[in-house]
């Protein structure tokens, strides 16, 4: 039985965000001229305050609130802090884009905060209903963000497509929850776990229910075959939307899957493992092959993200504590890499306009050597070449997977990884080997700090890889 904590002692960061976001929205509506810049600044401040509250003011150890439907442990603290930091950067990206496009809308930072709130609830959920609330809040805010971001006319279609798929995923999730409720008469994870261990566990409704829930979360994860919606949006909408869709929901969904796999689904782990492995192999296959067809840089990183999700799922499929720990470590590296990469994408501009075609990156190293070098470091890390963070993230996943006996899968996965190396290499080739064909605008300082921080992390990860592993191990221990 989990210790019960007070509401304020457990959910203080969420409460801060909720009160703050309502206040900011009201402020934005009434403060006409200064609304945008003030709300943007205050949103970032709010997220940072919430991050501090997560780390410092959400109690010690593991405890639950709201009748055990909301849990706080080291795992949730670590990943919420990561998530909030990612969201701060996303507001920065949105700001950079909107000032450039001269389309300043104070609702965008608010939608990002709401999304952060939803995803925090997802990470902390310890009850299928609170999970549903979290997922819905996330979905609504993401759709809101997509609609208010003014993509191209063609993109509007993919936006609608995304919204429809989100509704489908909600339906899946709801169906899964219903199946679980009918077969176990419970919604709380602990009770479900207990009920399933009492009975023989692997009954058909439970199995199908878990498949539904995994499928619903796979839409957010953009793992193949549920990747369509996210990829379309990533391609057509402004860069900050792509960056947001490919990082924050992935973090939250992986957390939910990790919590489910170690908690209520533990009794059906063999079935779950197969599902994860199939999703993993499909994602890696599609991600590593389709990357060659991409001509748009955002589409390119969409496929890169799919490959990474394959690795994350492989970590989850390992099931062991080493697997979960490796997955969390991979998630941290993935989030920071993606942030840096998208900062590079946003910063590569010609005459003040961002460039998206891969061919337009030719010879960047000759004109903007620092930008090109950071971009190259991040790309090499995406490819998983040693020295860089991506490699260490991958090797821990491999160790966990082989430890659980998935040797053939690891062979297939590494084959896909070898193929997918050529994607980043192709961009590096055009960055460094080709003649510069155009003028590139100078890099704005805030984007530069983001990409520099990310590049530095990726480059120096080799030194503190062990340290990060200790942290992720501690987080994993709180989950088990």
């Amino acid at each position: 039985m989990i210790n019960q904590g007070t509401i304020l002692g457990s959910a203080l960061p969420e409460i801060i965000l909720l009160v703050g976001v309502v206040a900011l929205f009201a402020f934005g509506l009434f403060a006409k001229r200064v609304a945008y810049s003030a709300v943007t600044g205050m949103s970032m401040g709010l997220l940072l305050i919430a991050a501090v509250a997560v780390v410092g003011f959400s109690g010690e150890g593991t405890h639950a609130a709201f009748y055990s439907s909301f849990i706080v442990d080291d795992f949730s603290r670590m990943l919420k802090a990561l998530l909030l930091c990612v969201c701060v950067i996303m507001i920065l990206f949105a700001d950079a884009h909107m000032r450039l496009a001269d389309h300043e809308d104070f609702r965008t930072p608010i939608s990002i905060i709401l999304g952060a709130l939803g995803m925090m609830i997802m990470i902390s959920s310890h009850n299928l209903l609170s999970l549903f609330i979290g997922v819905e809040l996330t979905t609504i805010s993401l759709c809101w963000m997509i609609y208010s971001s003014h993509g191209s006319a063609k993109a509007a279609v993919s936006g609608k497509h995304y919204v429809r798929l989100s509704m489908l995923s909600s339906a899946f999730l709801f169906a899964g929850i219903l199946l679980f409720y009918f077969s176990t008469s419970a919604l709380n994870y602990e009770v479900i776990h207990w009920t399933l261990t009492q009975s023989d566990g692997l009954t058909t409704p439970v199995l199908i229910g878990s498949m539904f829930i995994v499928a619903a979360l796979s839409f957010k994860l953009c793992s193949v075959p549920f990747h369509g919606g996210v990829l379309d949006v990533a391609k057509g909408f402004p860069t900050y939307v792509s960056a947001h869709l490919l990082t924050a929901p992935v973090i939250a969904s992986i957390c939910v899957l990790a919590r489910l796999a170690t908690g209520p689904f533990e009794t059906i782990s063999s079935g779950l493992e197969q599902t994860f492995l199939i999703l993993c192999l499909l994602s890696l296959l599609v991600g590593s092959l389709a990357i060659f067809s991409a001509s748009n840089i955002k589409e390119f990183f969409g496929y890169t993200a799919i490959t990474h999700v394959g690795f994350l799922l492989l970590g989850l499929a390992s099931g062991s504590d080493a697997g979960i720990s490796a997955t969390i470590g991979y998630l941290v590296v993935y989030a920071i890499m993606m942030i840096g990469t998208f900062a590079c994408v946003m910063a590569t501009q010609r005459d003040g306009m961002p460039v998206y075609e891969l061919s337009e990156y030719a010879g960047l190293s000759q004109v903007r050597p620092v930008l090109a070098a950071l971009f190259a470091v991040l790309l090499l890390s995406h490819a998983g070449l040693p020295w860089f963070a991506g490699f260490f993230a991958k090797i821990y996943i491999f160790i966990a997977a082989i430890g659980s006996g998935h040797i053939i899968t690891v062979l297939l996965v590494s084959l896909a990884a070898v193929i997918s190396i050529h994607g980043p290499i192709r961009i590096i080739k055009s960055l460094y080997f080709d003649k510069p064909s155009q003028r590139y605008s100078p890099v704005s300082p805030d984007l530069f700090y983001v990409m520099f921080g990310s590049g530095l992390f990726v480059f120096t990860y080799i030194v503190f890889a062990g340290l990060v592993q200790n942290v992720t191990r501690a987080a994993t221990m709180s989950l088990l």
């Binding site: 070449l385 040693p386 040797i407 590494s414 190396i421 290499i425 062990g466």
Partner: protein, 513 residues
């Protein structure tokens, strides 16, 4: 040497420090590019001097690792652990010796983006030194795979001819090699819970690890070596690379493969060499014959030398996997000798290319008249490649021949064909370039070696002669470590021994005659 002084780390990371300084050297004009070049030479020379100091304090009677430094690093028992034994110190010194020469070789030919060029070479030196000193497999892998991208970069930007295709081919083959090596390491780790080579050697591996591990490891090093049918990337890369990169590829990357076989494959999978004997001997024989025949008809000097390198790599692998003391010692000397020879030959090819901007054999002829000194230097390198007594090549090839004959009499036919044909090729090469009348117009005023080229070429020739007259100087350093390596159960020509099949304690296999 003072205990606890991190001399190996200093040697490994000194080039990297130099590379960082190169990166922040201000200016983009000729003066700054001169400064960068001097900085590179100073860094690499100091690295060489430091590595000599390691040799000075090295205890040749000790078979284990010396100058060991251990720092907890990536968690879960993966450490930053470096050290040298009798085998790695040879390659360490060879590497630090060759890299300054490689730097100097690009002095005039590299005209653009000097900063990035020097940066890549210095990073490459760090990766080579690191993997030679690594006692931890993950560290070994990090350095090995870290070398791939600088090589790709060097060939892609400064290469000639079909450089883009060659660099893509290089990265494709080497990334497959790295991936399979990585899986082997992960397998070993999940089996033994450590990646420390010393502890792994003492651990008896499970059946799964050997079943999957050995073929993958074999594939990894065959791709790297390169063994037929994977040798094309190497020939293409070497042919289109700038001179410095050709030198590094032919002398160091090939050594890495041989070193990997000695360091990882033989001690950890002693069974593998026996189970795979047929495949090993077959592949090596095919490699030798196919590449020496290709060299025979090749028209391009750089490709010709590259094929010669591949052919001799076949012989080296063959003598390593006799797993006898003679065989391994012969292979070591052969690797050292052929690295020097290949360096000398590629340097010469680079010199010729600088003067006539062509590497086509047809473009040359009668150069002795104009370049007597160069002709003499080239002759020595060719004689060493052929294996004429008095050069290192003779001792190396002769002892390899003996070792291979002792282990497997029939295969000697292939080795004989290799040696005969390579002699023919060497003489033909020398004749085409240097003998005959000087007819080509462009050669009438071609200059002999200048001071820079003398400084690059003569130390190699001196070492070739030295190692030819005193081969024991090389062998005495490595002997204890090699004895320790080959005294493990695989030795077949000394005493028959019984040993257990890993992972199956009940069964015992009788080996030997």
């Amino acid at each position: 040497m003072v205990d606890g002084f991190p001399i190996l780390s200093i040697i490994i990371f000194l080039p990297l420090v130099g590379a960082s300084v190169v990166l922040i050297t201000p200016g983009a004009d000729d003066v700054s590019s001169e400064n960068i070049k001097s900085l590179a030479v100073i860094t690499t020379c100091f690295t060489f001097i430091f590595s000599l100091s390691v040799l000075f304090w090295f205890d040749i009677s000790n078979a284990g690792y010396q100058f060991v430094e251990t720092v907890a690093w990536a968690g879960s028992g993966i450490q930053y652990k470096v050290g040298v034994d009798g085998i790695s110190i040879l390659f360490l010194i060879l590497t630090t010796f060759i890299v300054p020469i490689a730097v100097v070789s690009g002095w005039k030919t590299i005209r653009h983006r000097m900063r990035e060029y020097i940066f890549a070479i210095l990073v490459l030196e760090t990766t080579f030194l690191g993997l030679l000193c690594a006692v931890d497999l993950v560290l070994f892998f990090v350095f090995l795979a870290g070398a791939i991208f600088p090589l790709y970069y060097l060939i892609g930007i400064w290469g000639k001819g079909n450089a883009e295709a060659a660099s893509t081919k290089l990265i494709s083959f080497l990334s497959v090699s790295a991936a399979s090596l990585l899986i082997v390491i992960v397998l070993l780790y999940s089996d033994a819970g450590t990646t420390d080579l010393v502890e792994l050697k003492a651990h008896s591996l499970s059946h799964t690890t050997t079943t999957y591990g050995w073929p993958l490891l074999f594939l990894a090093f065959c791709l790297l070596a390169p063994i037929w049918p994977f040798h094309r990337w190497f020939v293409d890369a070497v042919a289109s690379a700038p001179t410095s990169c050709s030198i590094l590829l032919s002398s160091l990357v090939m050594n890495v493969a041989g070193y990997g076989f000695l360091r990882v494959a033989l001690p950890l999978f002693p069974q593998g060499a026996i189970e795979f004997e047929g495949i090993l001997v077959g592949l090596s024989a095919i490699t030798m014959i196919v590449s020496v025949l290709a060299a025979l008809v090749e028209k391009d000097i750089k490709r010709l030398i590259a094929y010669m390198c591949v052919a001799h790599m076949g012989l080296i692998i063959l003598s390593i996997f006799t797993a006898t003391q003679t065989g391994v010692l012969a292979a070591l000397l052969h690797m050292v000798s052929f690295s020097l020879v290949a360096t000398g030959l590629f340097l010469s090819a680079g010199l010729l290319e600088e003067r006539v901007s062509s590497t086509d054999l047809k473009a040359f002829g009668g150069l002795t008249v104009r370049m007597p000194l160069f002709a003499f230097a080239f002759l020595i390198a060719i004689l060493a490649a052929i294996g004429v007594p008095g050069t290192s090549g003779f001792v190396a090839q002769f002892s390899a021949l003996v070792a291979v004959y002792n282990a497997n009499g029939g295969i000697i036919v292939f080795v004989a064909v290799l040696l005969f044909l390579s002699a023919l090729i060497g003489i033909r090469l020398y004749k085409t370039v240097f003998l005959g009348p000087l007819e080509k117009e462009g050669f009438k005023d071609v200059a002999d070696l200048n001071t820079r080229e003398k400084y690059a070429l003569f130390p190699i020739l001196a070492l070739i002669i030295f190692a030819g007259i005193f081969p024991n100087s090389v062998w005495s350093i490595a002997q204890t470590a090699v004895l320790d390596l080959t005294e493990r159960p695989v030795s077949r020509d000394y005493s028959p021994q019984t040993f257990a099949v890993p992972g199956d304690g009940s069964q015992a296999v009788k080996s030997g005659p």
